[in-house]
């Protein structure tokens, strides 16, 4: 399995040297810089941007071509879960991925989020070729470029909300004072500012998920990956969580990829990808608007 992967990696390396990876990275860096102050003005009205095709499109942050994922490679029970997925996500998009269980949603999510390596294809995340990274580089990507929100919250037990939010910054090497200040700000943003000392056990599901979202935002990632974030919540609380995602998208221009079972929630996103048996079978536009508002 490794041999095969290496061969592929080599091929890709040659490929990339042709297209100059530095240029790619520079581009994204510029985009990042631009995304701070002056670009914010554009993003306040993202719809006008997108509706005028003459304007330059925002940079692509996720670029997948023919991604496959196999398990038990070389064994009799070899299993291919993803059969060549092509996805392009631009900065500031709000994308929903829907599909039945077993359709490969979670596997795709793990591949996008650098938790798992794809078996074949091409994948560039924010200018970084994911086939050329080692374990520690993957850790760094997860740390700085991606914010995870899980269905089961996955807050670290016996650790206060504040410390949970600080965690990604801890691994990013942010100094303690800055960490604490930023974590408080983020908790205020998700309206959990009055519960920063609470332990996960002392919070309700919705509250935990809000802390988890604050944690996902800790290192200002370019992408937020939410794996059924409302799956374990009742509809009212789920609504609140969904509103937070809208807020992050509309006000901060975050790129959000949401996995969900619910067609209503998916309809609120700008783009809906439907996955079935490891293939994207449908792509359609959503309203990009909170249905209730």
């Amino acid at each position: 399995m490794k041999k095969k992967q290496k061969q592929e990696e080599q091929l890709i390396i040659e490929d990339i040297t042709d297209t100059a990876p530095d240029a790619l990275e520079k581009e994204s860096d510029e985009a990042k810089e631009a995304g701070t102050e002056p670009a914010r003005a554009d993003q306040v009205k993202p719809d006008t941007l997108r509706e005028e095709p003459g304007n330059e499109d925002p940079p692509v942050v996720i670029d997948m071509k023919g991604i496959t994922k196999k398990y038990f490679i070389g064994q009799p029970n070899e299993l291919e879960v993803l059969h060549g997925i092509d996805i392009k996500v631009r900065k500031g998009e709000f994308v929903a991925i829907v599909g039945q269980s077993g359709s490969g949603k979670s596997t795709l999510m793990n591949v996008i989020g650098a938790l798992d390596r794809p078996t074949g294809g091409e994948y560039t995340l924010d200018g970084v070729d994911m086939f050329r990274t080692g374990d520690s580089e993957l850790s760094e990507i997860r740390c700085k470029k991606i914010g995870f929100v899980f269905q089961t919250y996955n807050l670290v037990a016996r650790t206060s909300a504040l410390k949970n939010v600080e965690l990604p910054m801890l691994y990013a090497g942010v100094p303690m004072r800055v960490r604490s200040k930023k974590a408080r700000e983020l908790l205020n943003l998700v309206e959990m500012g009055d519960r920063i000392r609470h332990l996960p056990d002392e919070l309700s599901g919705g509250q935990k998920q809000r802390v988890a979202i604050a944690r996902a935002m800790a290192n200002d990632p370019s992408i937020i990956l939410a794996d059924e974030p409302t799956g374990a919540l009742d509809s009212v609380t789920g609504r609140l969580i969904m509103d937070i995602f809208h807020k992050l998208h509309d006000e901060q221009g975050k790129t959000i990829i949401l996995i969900t079972h619910s067609p209503e929630l998916a309809a609120e996103c700008e783009r809906i990808l439907t996955l079935k048996d490891g293939v994207i079978i449908n792509e359609q536009k959503g309203s990009g608007r909170n249905a209730v508002l």
Binding site: D116, S136, S139, E140, F148, T159, P168, L170
Partner: protein, 429 residues
């Protein structure tokens, strides 16, 4: 920075599972505690011995009559026991006489500072009304007080006249005075005491007290202070008269400053052996206190080493316990590890976290063990009658060693955690 965070995490983990942590640490506590206690007791013992030795004078050489291992006895049946041979009692002709000692001191005037001779007359109990004191009666020469560091509290030592004419004078201890005269030295001096010897037939002596010396506790007293037997000194000539003896079984040479007492002991042995050249049963043996000290030191060292090895085994067992509990902890916290990895923790930071946890577990065990060891050592030293003196080096060594145990036995579980696949860890139920 991560170091500090990991430290807090480790203490939190330890505190959350207090009981489990304590049980895990038990092996470490016992191991470290045993080492510290043993080292403390051994050290106290050595301190006490060496201070006693220097009281007695480390440059003293003891010269004594020793039974000869005769060839006739050792062949023959070959079934003679050591004890039988050792039980030979020196007769009049076998004893060391004043003449031998005089010749020895004349031969080595540059080496010998003083000669101390004493002979015991046995134990007795002195009574007067309701007062009593246990004593043992000992005849001494002029060198004895100096060689044994005995200090006078009142009155005076025996003059040369007392030594030569065998007058009925004695020196008693301050404890004797407190038992018999309510501690009034002036009242005691000049007072006559009657001594009835208890062993080996009835003997009755009367002596006049001329001085009081300061009794120094030997450290190991089984009886109440009042009942402790102290020595009553009389001139050696008097003692020889009473015993009808003309010589001694042993005496002590105090060497001058800067003399190698080990080497000089051999010379003395050579010199004295000529008096015993024709003696079939006895010869002369010498030994210096310096050699005795080193023998004792090495013996204590051997015992300490043996017990330390046993303690090290206990530490290894404790370390395995730590490893075991770390494995349990890691499998309990698999999801947490997965989450941390998803949030950007590198393998290295996960490894560091769990190694730190193992180190903290061992280190806390080590600190508790040091506490147990110091208390145990103090109790042990007190039971033996010595001042407890724990050594800083053993404490530092214990801390370092318990840390090393943590690193060694924590590495495997920590590495296992570090190498977990984040997805599998996140999915773990």
């Amino acid at each position: 920075m991560l170091f500090f965070e990991n430290l807090i995490l480790a203490f939190t983990a330890l505190w959350v599972n207090k009981m489990r942590s304590l049980l895990t640490m038990l092996g470490i506590i016992i191991g470290i505690g045993a080492v510290i206690a043993i080292v403390t007791v051994g050290n106290s013992l050595m301190n006490s011995i060496s201070s006693e030795m220097s009281d007695m004078g480390a440059n003293n050489i003891v010269v004594g009559v020793q039974a000869r291992e005769s060839e006739e006895e050792s062949d023959g049946s070959g079934m003679r026991f050591e004890t039988l041979r050792g039980a030979k009692i020196p007769m009049e002709k076998d004893l060391i006489t004043d003449e031998y000692i005089r010749e020895l001191t004349a031969e080595y005037p540059d080496e010998i500072k003083a000669v101390s001779i004493d002979t015991s007359l046995g134990d007795a109990r002195v009574e007067s009304g309701r007062n009593y004191a246990n004593i043992s009666l000992r005849g001494i020469n002029s060198g004895y007080m100096g060689a044994n560091n005995i200090k006078m509290q009142a009155g005076s030592e025996f003059g040369s006249k007392a030594y030569s004419d065998g007058k009925g004078v004695c020196i008693v201890s301050d404890r004797f005075v407190s038992n018999m005269f309510d501690g009034d030295n002036d009242k005691a001096i000049g007072h006559k005491i009657e001594i009835e010897m208890t062993g080996r037939g009835y003997k009755y002596y009367v002596f006049t007290i001329v001085g009081v010396y300061e009794y120094v506790s030997q450290g190991f007293e089984m009886q109440a202070a009042r009942d402790v037997s102290t020595e009553v000194y009389i001139p050696i000539s008097t003692a020889l008269n009473k015993n009808h003896l003309k010589g001694y079984t042993n005496f002590t040479i105090v060497t001058k400053q800067g003399i190698d007492s080990d080497a000089f002991a051999l010379k003395v042995k050579e010199f004295m052996e000529r008096y015993y050249h024709n003696n079939r049963d006895f010869t002369i043996s010498t030994f210096s206190l310096a050699s005795m000290v080193s023998a004792m030191t090495s013996m204590v060292g051997t015992v300490s080493t043996a017990i330390t090895v046993i303690a090290a085994i206990s530490l290894i067992v404790g370390g395995i316990g730590v490893m075991n509990i770390m494995l349990v902890s890691i499998s309990e916290r698999t999801r947490e590890i997965g989450t941390r990895k998803a949030l950007g923790a590198t393998n290295g930071s996960i490894r560091a976290q769990f190694i730190m946890e193992a180190i903290v577990l061992c280190l806390v065990g080590g600190v508790l063990g040091i506490g147990v060891g110091i208390i145990g050592g103090a109790i042990g030293a007190k039971a033996l009658g010595y001042e407890a003196s724990p050594t800083a080096s053993s404490i530092v060594a214990a801390l370092l060693f318990s840390m090393a145990v943590g690193v060694f036995f924590g590495y495997y579980p920590a590495n296992k955690a570090a190498k977990m696949n984040p997805i599998d860890a996140l999915r773990y139920e």
